[in-house]
Assembly symmetry: C3
């Protein structure tokens, strides 16, 4: 198998949800683990990470490892997502690495009954590729010790240093060498808080920098090595809109997975990764894109950045500071240029079916028409755009559909929610497209 | 020769124009090729790419290869640009690679009379550097088979995968090794449609992501290895303004070449890469740069983001939400800070001649003065800026002049159009500068 | 010592100030050197660079090298910053490299008494890593020739080519090899003027492109290899606001050092790198962040992008085009979301002390409260935010504090200025935090 074909059960990971493994002062220090593992449907993440590192106080981590074993052995068989505990590790500290090995030994002991439900481990604070290999070697030793198949435990890493960012570029050269088992690699996860510290970066308010280049590099490395990329935590829990904006930006970079700190973020990220339930129109209003509001089948613009009025024999259209006088046909062209459509899953499936039928009938490219009536300042304009679809357009739109299919196949517990969002009919047809 | 000195006839490529090689259902399936190869002047690209890959239906590609041979052998001698057919290739599919070899064999057969007019081949969908070497080896074999000089056929690649993006970083280490002929490399071309698919990236509307980092990396690799970088296709054919914006962005990244899908885009990209015919002033109006309109020698601002009025003994200037009360001298400083000048080719040549004369007279740095009268809300302000020119300023402005000179030397068919745009005098002097 | 722990006296460099070494036509060609080396306090840079390359005419460079020797031997012992002369070098020109060696030989001659005050040399125009090794080897030879300890002369490079940008990625693999002394590396400095030329990039006005990716890559390489990153010169000397904006952007990338062309820029960059004297509030006004003005303890917004009025039983809040009607509690939430606080050094120290006390008392996370009264259109709103602080928050804010401590320890000549800016009390407490 070529290195850039994904080797694991999941082709996509929407959500990476971390939970403290042991909380001091509770009657049951494993209470949060016990709660998290019983989530189902949209509340359950694609990847659940019992976090025996930063989310858990250092003094509680020994107990945390035992808690993972206890909770996973009891409930793991029924958990709908994958389970990847995070253990401690540090590129600059052999003592921490040794503790990481011990935690894995504890958690993976087959007599304790948890490892059969555990898909892999998450290794934080890695450095260059030689450091990744040390973690890989520990997993190989654990597999050997416990009679597990070599390479069967997945390994994911948190990128939180410049050296780890650089190491990602070497994966294609290193994976597959006979002296390591790096094919076990599964997720590359950004850890922007510690990355910021390692880069010695500062913002005036203490907010995290955007790290656009890191996100590109992580996504690229995942693409090149057949892995899955996940972006780091979004601290402002209450800011749901900001969380979605970050996810949209990330998907533009090919970075589909999202860290979730709360069950609320899990729901947002599980749903947000999929195409919307209903399509909608956008209009470029001066320097920003604004969503049009549908009223009785008409797409209404209510802002004041665009104005439109009828004049004798024509129209006057103002966008920002720029005014043009146009006739009806020119007006349609102008509005067409300003607007764009965000298709729903149903829209995407419709178009793909249409294209597949055309292809079967021997046509390689067809025009897809999309029409709307747009209203600005009470003036209505009918627009209609033809977009040429060819194989490349079709392939590009297979990405969200493949994601949907991967979710549907791997998450039976979400079937009901998906049918509720998209309708049974759209779900069924989405599962057929591309086959 | 050092690896970062460009080894090919062209030092610059403005335009990379693709044409389907065989269209079904036409009397003459080579009709489009026949049309494209007869373009001259601004309608003819610097590099013409008979596209036997994505632009041509798979079932037509055998015929397409023959069409290339036929059309190029007949008209190739007179074509003013370089000719680089694109053949099929895929990093993950040996069958496709074998077809690529066969297509090259067909097209390069010297008995068919096309290869003497063909400068190289474009290889799409490459992966890591070892994959590039396979294509290079095929070209070496073809050269050997047909008695052509080893390394004489140029090779260009389309970057449409994360692995190819990473491979570009290795060129300096790999080119010049005795076991390959990678010195034949000529262009690094972004292919954003398939790159988006390979990165599994998604945008809400289905538009392509901006891929700023990819564009930087391609330009950097070209710079480091003495190659030429070209940006991928711009789908929205009607959006001429957007096409120019993309080119301006690209040139800021050192990415000068531009893919053209239509003869109209060829004209825009041929002209757009060169300095403008007339200089003009820009003003920073709040958060955007706006071009001033010249009226009777005065540079007029007509927007409402900046306002200016005379008050008793001074002026009140408002930019966005920010108002200052200033005297005349301060006003000049404020307006000077807000404005900038985009020089024409003539302006650039004037300044360079002036600097060359100063240098000859033993002065290493001189002040270049630029003056204008700016009018805002009817209030006129005279501004005058002195910009210090030293060797570095001079060298930086040599880039557009070198581009102009490279175009002029290699494209006699554009001499007339250039003289019409810039005047004979400016063209002649532009050819003298820097010598 | 691990490669990413910084090996030099300074952990941070705020300012990199270049001075011509020999100016023609003056009675004393070393006048500028003599002036610069006598700067003290905020006027003196962390790193002073007698510039025997671009700032000095080629014909004057021999004299320049002698001037460095003369001025540094006389005044170097008292200079409060480090001294790193720049010599000539070029990746593509062995003649220039040989001159570079000769200049170093002249300057480093221990009999001349300057080398004991010189910390290292700055090598411009480097290419790939093998070119860096040539410069390193020359320094080794000079050390050997003059009986200096091998590796004792620091080496810094200017990144002004695509090949040098790529070379930075190899530092972790190359430093520490027995055949070089690259551990002597100290600063990675962007040189955007020549980089722009090497990349063949062009902007319409001739301004420098932003080069966001280069800046990320330099910062990352410095982080990975334990070096210090410095951004290139900012030409528009008069534009102090622009200079600060660039520094803020840079610090977000972990690029803390800043080139200064004038003593004025030295002062701005020395102060600008440190946290502000007084904290202040920001508000997100539509698409931009605006500083609130404090009036009698109230934070006042004066712009017109946000408006607020009381209505019957509630409030109407408009941000840009978006209006919401809210009750008092919702209003507080909305304003809280729009505002953020930029802490002063004193604020940071307060919070860190509070966190340290909490940690000592066995608590791993505490809420830090920040309150303010915000006034918009005369309507006052009391806001209060709780930010959770954990070890990671604490560590992130250690970056500006470590920078402060490094400055304080290495720059006794700035103690007075620092006490004046921040107060003796804050300075003292800032030096205690984290110990």
């Amino acid at each position: 198998m070529s290195i850039d074909e994904r080797q694991h059960a999941r082709q996509f990971v929407r959500t990476f949800f971390t939970t403290p493994t042991a909380v001091e002062g509770e009657d049951d220090s494993a209470k949060m683990l016990r709660g998290a593992i019983q989530n189902r449907g949209m509340e359950a993440p694609d990847v659940w990470v019992p976090d025996n590192e930063d989310a858990t106080a250092p003094s509680m981590r020994e107990e945390g490892a035992e808690n993972i074993v206890e909770v996973v052995s009891e409930h793991g068989a029924d958990f709908p997502g994958e389970i990847h505990p995070r253990v401690v590790w540090h590129r600059d500290d052999p003592g921490t690495r040794h503790q990481g090995l011990q935690q894995i030994m504890t958690i993976a002991d087959p007599e304790k009954g948890a490892i059969e439900h555990i898909d892999g481990f998450v290794i934080p604070e890695v450095g260059d590729i030689d450091d990744w290999k040390k973690a890989d070697e520990f997993l190989t030793i654990v597999e050997n010790e416990y009679g597990l198949e070599e390479g069967s435990i997945a390994m994911s890493v948190i990128i939180e240093s410049g050296s780890a960012e650089l190491a990602m570029e070497e994966l294609r050269n290193e994976m597959g060498k006979p002296s390591n088992n790096l094919q076990r690699l599964f997720m590359l996860v950004n850890g922007e808080v510690d990355y910021t510290k390692d880069m010695r970066a500062m913002t005036p308010t203490g907010d995290l920098p955007p790290w656009a280049e890191l996100r590109h590099n992580t996504s690229r490395a995942a693409s090149a090595a057949g892995l899955i990329s996940v972006d780091g935590p979004y601290d402002e829990i209450r800011d749901v809109e900001g969380y979605h904006e970050r996810m949209t930006e990330n998907r533009e970079k090919g970075l589909i997975g999202m860290w979730a700190l709360t069950p609320g973020q899990v729901v947002e990220a599980n749903k947000g990764a999929l195409p919307p339930e209903d399509g909608y129109w956008l209009i470029e209003a001066d320097d920003r894109e604004v969503e049009l509001r549908e009223e009785d089948g008409v797409q209404v613009y209510n802002g004041d950045r665009i104005s439109l009025s009828e004049t004798e024999g024509g129209y006057e259209l103002t966008v920002g500071n720029n005014t043009v006088v146009v006739d009806e046909e020119e007006l349609e062209d102008e509005i067409l240029d300003l607007t764009s459509y965000v298709p729903s899953l149903g829209d995407i499936v419709d178009s793909m079916e249409e294209f597949e039928a055309a292809k079967e009938a021997g046509r390689g490219a067809i025009a897809m028409t999309r029409s709307a009536t747009v209203s600005i300042d009470g003036v209505e304009v009918d627009i209609s755009s033809d977009r040429m679809w060819d194989e490349a357009t079709y392939q590009a739109l297979m990405v969200p559909v493949s994601l949907f299919q991967d979710v549907y196949e791997n998450r039976p517990d979400q079937h009901e929610a998906l049918a509720e969002i998209y309708s049974e009919d759209v779900v069924e047809r989405a599962m057929e497209v591309g086959n």
